[in-house]
């Protein structure tokens, strides 16, 4: 296979590829700016999701278009990157958010909501001291994991 170079790309494909790349990169940059500008931790974790959703989407479509036109056959394996990104991002985000929430609750920060009320007839109702409640919650959570 002869190596195709960027100069071989016809103009009708070069324009959308360039636009999509710029748009994707712009979204990623905006997300990074948000990481700088927004106030609290919970607000800041919203910002990078711009880059991991539409941002990466634009870059992947640009890549598929570019290589499909250059190699004159459909190049689709970028779809897998999108799938794996969508499936794995929630894991990291949940881990971060829950860790932050756990610490804030431990410190008695009143900006975060209290843990959910125990189910009806909850078996382990501690006294109203927050640390006791926290400990009960931790135990319940551990038991649930096992």
């Amino acid at each position: 296979m002869t190596q195709a170079v960027a100069a071989d790309l016809p103009i009708w494909a070069a324009l959308p590829v360039a636009l999509l790349l710029l748009l994707g990169a712009g979204l990623a940059l905006t997300g990074t700016l948000g990481l700088l500008r927004l106030g609290s931790f919970y607000e800041r974790v919203h910002a990078p999701t711009l880059g991991t959703t539409l941002g990466i989407g634009c870059v992947l479509i640009a890549s598929m278009l570019y290589f499909s036109v250059l190699q004159t056959r459909p190049v689709l394996h970028e779809v897998l990157i999108a799938v794996f990104m969508t499936v794995t991002t929630p894991v990291t985000l949940m881990l971060l958010a829950r860790a932050a929430l756990y610490r804030d609750r431990r410190e008695g920060n009143d900006q975060v909501p209290p843990p959910p009320p125990p189910p009806r007839g909850g078996q382990e109702e501690g006294p109203d001291g927050t640390t006791e409640e926290m400990a009960a919650m931790d135990r319940a959570e551990l038991a649930e994991r096992r």
Binding site: T30, G31, L33, G34, H46, T86, T89, P90
Partner: protein, 162 residues
């Protein structure tokens, strides 16, 4: 049938993934991918995952389009919030939403949807009280968010998975 080909959908997905990774449709890669996919899906039987049901592909397709549209919309909205000078009168906050869905696969897909739309983050799900805690970047009306999550996503996911 179940014994020869457990998890037919998973097997098909793995085969497609293999073909995409190898970027070829030759007989060799189809056979090799098929053997690998079959082996992997049979190995999964040993792990005894909770039973999954997948029905109504039409609803799933509709949901995919709704999510795609919401991703684009919320990307624009969040980009606007970030680039707008000053703080404005925007308020962010937590919302607790009671969920009716119990199916673990449905919940997993809901987590992917909520994470994939910028502006909403899945913070915690409590299986005892069956409530979901979200953090929302631009919180105007808490009830409206509950309606969106329950009406737009949860009802469709329940149709598909339960």
């Amino acid at each position: 049938m179940r014994r020869v080909l457990p998890h037919p959908l998973l097997t098909a997905c793995l085969l497609v993934m293999w073909l995409l990774l190898n970027q070829s449709l030759t007989a060799g890669s189809v056979i090799l991918g098929g053997v690998l996919a079959l082996g992997a899906s049979r190995a999964l039987v040993r792990l005894e995952p909770p039973r999954a049901r997948f029905r109504r592909p039409g609803v799933a397709l509709q949901l995919a389009f709704i999510v795609l549209r919401d991703i684009i919309r919320s990307n624009i909205a969040v980009a606007r919030i970030i680039l707008r000078p000053g703080r404005g009168d925007r308020r962010s906050g937590f919302v607790r939403i009671p969920l009716d869905m119990r199916d673990p696969y449905g919940l997993a897909v809901l987590a992917c949807i909520i994470t994939a739309t910028p502006g909403t983050i899945w913070v915690e799900y409590d299986s005892a009280s069956r409530s979901l805690l979200l953090h929302i970047l631009d919180l105007i009306d808490e009830d409206a968010w509950a309606r969106i999550i329950k009406g737009r996503y949860e009802s469709r996911l329940m149709e598909i998975f339960e």
